[in-house]
């Protein structure tokens, strides 16, 4: 039923890439040994033109992905082709360059291409690895259901805190209000937790409530010192709700982290692609002008 993007249509694009690589190798080898291989022979030109074509084709994925009523294959097919052809490009372009490197625009284009491809490899790894991790993390639920449950628990905690003394009530409210779920991309990736709490009996300032640990330990210690039976049972209830809250926040943050992993590499892959296109253009112009 489901076919992942590598297996797409029984490895159609893996096969295509292998054929391309073999053909490229054959063309390269026909250069013989009299003259050192380079980009200027007819073989070099062929490989060069083909590499440039591949780069354009690979870049076109970004457009195809957004042509929502396109009749040109499926995005999965395109991505599958992208991955395998991108990998074959690594070899084909290297053969085109014939291992000649130096401090010039030509090598810059080559290095950028390598960078794009490497970032692509990393992206592919995230695509193949993280969905499973996220599925396990969610275990039948979804980000949306966790957030809903969290909101509900917050309401319940607020309610129950009504039966506690002011000090605890305020503390609990401040813990809820100052829970930080999502920050910038960096904090999503690192799952840093900037949650705070204000414990008035100790200080006027906010202190860290990372992983809800501070509030939980405070409540646990407050439990034996409750004023009366009603408060004790309320604190007990709130405590258990905060524990669930802690767990929920963990799941939610992990989801955010995974989603960030799945996206962040594109922030390198795409700008590098643009840089590559620019460098490639200059490379081609230079070759023609200084011929």
């Amino acid at each position: 039923m489901f076919e992942n993007l590598l297996k797409y249509k029984k490895y159609r694009y893996l096969s295509l890439s292998l054929i391309l690589i073999v053909s490229a190798a054959v063309i390269y080898l026909t250069q013989g040994i009299e003259q050192p291989a380079n980009g200027g022979t007819w073989q070099g030109y062929t490989l060069g033109i083909f590499s440039a074509f591949l780069v354009l084709l690979l870049t076109y994925l970004g457009i195809r992905k957004r042509s929502y009523s396109s009749r040109m294959g499926t995005v999965e097919g395109w991505t599958s082709a992208h991955v395998f052809l991108g990998t074959s490009l690594l070899l084909i372009a290297t053969l085109h360059a014939a291992f000649q490197v130096g401090w010039n625009i030509h090598t810059l284009a080559y290095v950028l291409m390598i960078a794009v491809i490497l970032s692509g490899f990393y992206g592919l790894f995230t695509y193949l690895h993280y969905p499973q991790v996220m599925s396990k993390n969610n275990n039948g639920g979804s980000q949306e259901s966790w957030l809903q449950e969290l909101a509900q628990i917050d309401d319940e905690i607020k309610n129950r805190s009504g039966s506690c003394r002011a000090e605890i009530r305020l503390l609990v409210l401040s813990a809820i209000e100052n829970t930080k779920i999502s920050g910038g991309l960096f904090s999503q990736l690192t799952r840093s937790d900037n949650s705070k709490i204000k414990i008035q009996s100790e200080s006027d300032k906010y202190t860290s409530n990372k992983n809800q640990e501070r509030v939980i330990s405070y409540l646990a210690r407050a439990l034996p010192n409750s004023l009366n039976h009603a408060e004790a049972s309320a604190i007990d209830g709130i405590l258990s709700k905060f524990s669930r809250r802690q767990r929920l926040l963990k799941i939610i943050k992990r989801n955010l982290q995974i989603k960030a992993y799945l996206k962040v590499w594109l922030l390198f892959h795409v700008p590098l692609t643009i840089a590559l296109l620019a460098a490639l253009t200059v490379h081609i112009l230079v070759v023609f002008i200084y011929w």
Partner: protein, 838 residues
């Protein structure tokens, strides 16, 4: 004061009643009479149903093909404009209307009716036009002072009208809860529940009301086990009144600004019956029998509008006009008569349309005893199809082109003789009746049989929601009535004879298909008459594992799941669908049930005992082998599925998600999905900016995620009460909503999978260049928070749902846009593959 006797009293000032009253006023003037007509309205203003639409609602004037025939004006527009035009119309036409006059009884017969009002007054009249609609009257509190006023209300139009008030909401149904929650934003709210739980509420409402009650920071309180004892009206408008409650802790008085009682409506049927009007059966949607003149079985008592089964405003108004004509003895042709003529135009008769109508009704035994009005409606809503040879077709086609220029919207439908009327595997669900000529049906096995005038076909797909199993081929010069599903279901609900006629034949055909017997049609009919049709609600058990069985079931509609094992360890192993047998093993050797059979959705099935079964198979010995091999396949499949512990639970999960009644549902493999939401974006981008699937919502199990998105159900629940008939199923199976949606929201309520949303039109996106170079609007793939423009607001919200991208040549955009292959679309037939693949 001696009361004069009216010529006609019209009850209910909805569109139907208003139009009737205006026409009656016209005759009154023309005849120089005074007070010959009277319009009685229970509400304090005109047309309560329309008054209660949400503010600013765009009222539609569907159906487009029908012209308005009424002295009152009506055109599509805002609720306020429509009501204002009618108010002016009341003045201009000199309508004699009295408000706040609820009619509680009608006795007598033409020309001596007595109409009794709630205030005890009696009015005498020669004729009565009943146009009280279907909304019913709100159940009142039943206490002194409970009349509708600014203090006691039975509806709530706009919760924002209240701020910082204390309001008591009485009732525990969805309407009460929704009102109470709406008010709770800015007010102190008490909700009064007669019981100790909210048992009647939808799950969403239930959760919301409980969390509002539990939330102590809200001014939202609930009194359980509480009745209303009395009310004290406020002394003046700005003061508070009070409500006294009978609570388990004793009496409690609450000072409040307003009481909103939502105790449900009393359906009008009882009242109508009390006037002597008969209904054909007990089904809740049955409609009283009416003649050509909208007259009920009580002479002189006419029924029009929604109550008479016509759910749209324009129809109601036309009937209002016509009924007064009939009362004045004018034999006019109904407003839709030209449509009828156009429909019959290309038939080879020289006859008046009305005569053709009568001829056809006589041709078909099942329709013979239908009332003429209902048959007329059937024809108007149907297509008349004629199959001609090549030459005849070309000639007729030319005539058709000429007629089309005249702007009619209904025509005789032309096909070529020998063409397929429908094909195997097609999802159409229209019903065909042959009035002339022959049609031949060819089954999958290539068997072919002929049907003649008076017979019908296509009932299987109509009843089961499954694709066609045969090809239907038109014979030369045959003429057919092609009736849409909705009309046919309505007819079957209101006419027992038609229902029985169809059921009898469909039983014969279903048995024929399942058992392939060698019996004469007479023998088959006799046998079918003894076969019972049984119905099971979702989750009801057909039989239990280990029981001794004496029957087998042949499924007509729905899905039955087979499970093995006891209580907590029950494992769903297979599901069976329409046309398949359940429990046949009991009659084929082993009387002990090997499985538990449960209805996964609502199921209709034929129940056969041993004797009936033997009669069927004895006549064709070869069939026994076929049945045995089918059974062997089933057992193998079921054991395979039952052996993988997880797969069994997946099956259960899928059925719970409604995939048992799905024809095409979106399933996402969580192990592949990278949460890029390209699927949702693709949907929005190909459907005017509104995504019809919500990837992140919906349930998951064992790595399979069923997002909120349409299942394209076999028998779509959403189609049930669509007044505009805007929801259809395409031949290829897609359930979609067309432009005639009037935004009533019924389908949103009826879909059990929360798929349909009411939505404004989204702003149009700029062209790619305008976006790139001028920075206008949103670019491809960008959705964000669009700004709804005034025009879209004016048009109002319409229902939107997935249409399986039926207008894209490529097929579903969601699936095609997924970069990882995580999103696929499946039908129940793919369950085995899906489960095995895990």
């Amino acid at each position: 004061m001696p009361q004069n006797k009216f010529k006609v009293v019209i009850i209910g000032s909805g569109p139907a009643g208003l139009s009737a009253a205006a026409r009656a006023a016209y005759y009154e003037k023309e005849h120089g009479e005074s007070s010959a007509h009277l319009l009685l309205e229970a509400f304090s203003g005109l047309s309560k149903t329309i008054y209660q639409y949400q503010k600013g609602k765009h009222v539609m004037d569907e159906p487009g093909f029908l012209n308005l025939r009424s002295p009152m004006e009506f055109a599509a527009g805002k609720r306020e404009e429509v009501l204002q035009a009618w108010e002016q119309g009341v003045q201009q036409n000199g309508i004699n209307i009295q408000y706040e006059k609820e009619v509680i009884g009608i006795t007598g017969e033409q020309p001596d009716f007595t109409v009794t009002l709630k205030d005890g007054k009696k009015i005498t009249t020669e004729n009565v036009v009943l146009s009280i609609g279907l909304q019913g009257n709100p159940r009142k509190l039943g206490l002194p002072g409970d009349d509708e006023s600014t203090f006691v209300r039975y509806t709530l139009e706009d919760p924002d009208e209240f701020e910082e008030k204390t309001i008591v909401v009485v009732g525990a149904g969805d309407a009460a809860i929704e009102n109470a929650l709406g008010l709770a934003q800015n007010n102190t709210v008490y909700i009064i529940n007669r019981r100790n739980e909210f048992t009647r509420a939808k799950e969403g409402n239930l959760n919301a009301v409980l969390s509002a009650i539990n939330n102590k920071s809200n001014q939202f309180f609930c009194q359980y086990n509480t009745n209303v004892k009395s009310i004290q009206l406020p002394q003046s408008v700005d003061e508070k009144g009070a409500i006294v409650l009978d609570t388990p802790e004793g009496d409690l008085s609450i000072n409040c600004d307003c009481i909103i009682a939502r105790l449900g409506a009393i359906a009008p049927r009882r009242f109508v019956e009390s006037c002597g009007v008969e209904f054909p059966n007990d089904k809740p949607d049955s409609i009283p029998d009416l003649d050509n003149h909208y007259q009920s079985n009580v002479k002189g008592l006419y029924i029009i509008g929604a109550l008479g089964g016509y759910p749209l405003i324009k129809q109601a108004m036309n009937q209002g006009h016509d009924v007064i004509e009939f009362i004045h003895g004018k034999e006019i042709k109904p407003a839709d008569h030209p449509l009828l003529e156009q429909q019959f135009k290309l038939l080879p008769y020289v006859m008046d349309a009305q005569d053709i109508l009568e001829l056809y009704q006589q041709r078909v035994p099942m329709f013979k005893r239908m009332n003429a009005l209902a048959f007329r409606e059937l024809i108007i809503e149907s297509n008349i199809v004629i199959a001609l040879d090549e030459q005849g077709y070309q000639e007729a086609n030319k005539k058709q082109e000429l007629a089309k220029a005249k702007n009619y919207s209904k025509f005789t439908k032309l096909i070529k003789a020998g063409d397929k009327i429908f094909k195997k595997e097609e999802y159409s669900n229209t019903f065909y009746t042959i009035v002339e000529g022959e049609v031949s049906l060819t089954t999958e096995e290539g068997k072919s049989f002929k049907l003649k005038a008076g017979q019908f076909f296509g009932e299987m797909s109509l009843l089961s929601g499954r694709p066609r199993k045969t090809d239907a081929i038109a014979g030369n010069d045959c003429i057919l009535i092609e009736t849409p599903r909705r009309i046919m279901l309505k007819l079957m609900n209101s006419n027992d004879e038609v229902a029985q006629g169809i059921n009898r034949i469909s039983t014969v055909r279903a048995l024929q298909e399942a058992f392939n017997p060698n019996l004469s049609s007479k023998e088959m009919l006799a046998l079918a008459a003894t076969v019972k049709m049984v119905e099971f609600k979702a989750n009801e058990t057909l039989f239990k594992e280990g029981e001794k069985g004496k029957h087998l079931y042949l499924i007509r509609l729905g899905t039955v799941s087979l499970a093995k094992g006891i209580k907590h360890n029950k494992r769903v192993t297979t599901q069976l669908q329409s046309g398949e047998l359940v429990g046949q093993l009991a009659l084929m050797g082993n009387p002990t049930r090997t499985h538990t059979a449960v209805a996964a959705v609502r199921v209709e099935a034929f129940k056969l005992n041993l004797q009936q079964f033997l009669t069927l198979i004895k006549s064709n010995k070869d069939q026994i082998k076929v049945l045995q091999s089918d059974l062997a396949d089933l057992m193998q499949k079921s054991n395979l599925m039952g052996s993988v512990y997880e797969s069994v639970d997946i099956n259960k999960f899928l059925l719970k998600q409604g995939l048992g009644e799905a024809t095409n549902a979106l399933v996402i493999d969580e192990n592949l999905c990278v949460a890029c939401d390209n699927c949702e974006t693709a949907c929005a981008e190909t459907h005017s900016g509104i995504a019809r699937l919500k990837r992140e919502q919906g349930d998951s199990f064992a790595g399979l995620h069923i997002p909120i998105s349409c299942r394209h159900c076999e028998q779509p629940h959403c189609m049930k009460d669509c007044p505009a008939d805007a929801i259809h199923r395409a031949d290829s199976g897609e359930v979609f909503i067309d432009d005639s949606c009037i935004g009533c929201g019924n389908c949103e309520t009826n879909c059990p999978y929360d798929v349909i949303k009411m939505s404004y039109d989204m702003p149009k996106k700029p062209g790619l260049l305008a976006w790139m170079f001028l920075g206008l609007g949103k670019g491809p793939g960008e959705l964000g928070n669009p700004v709804i423009d005034a025009k879209a607001k004016d048009k109002g919200k319409k229902a939107v749902k997935c249409d399986l991208c039926k207008d894209l040549k490529t097929g579903p955009a969601c699936v095609r846009a997924c970069p990882t292959g995580a999103a696929i679309r499946i039908s129940p037939n793919d369950f085995v593959d899906l489960v095995e693949g895990r």
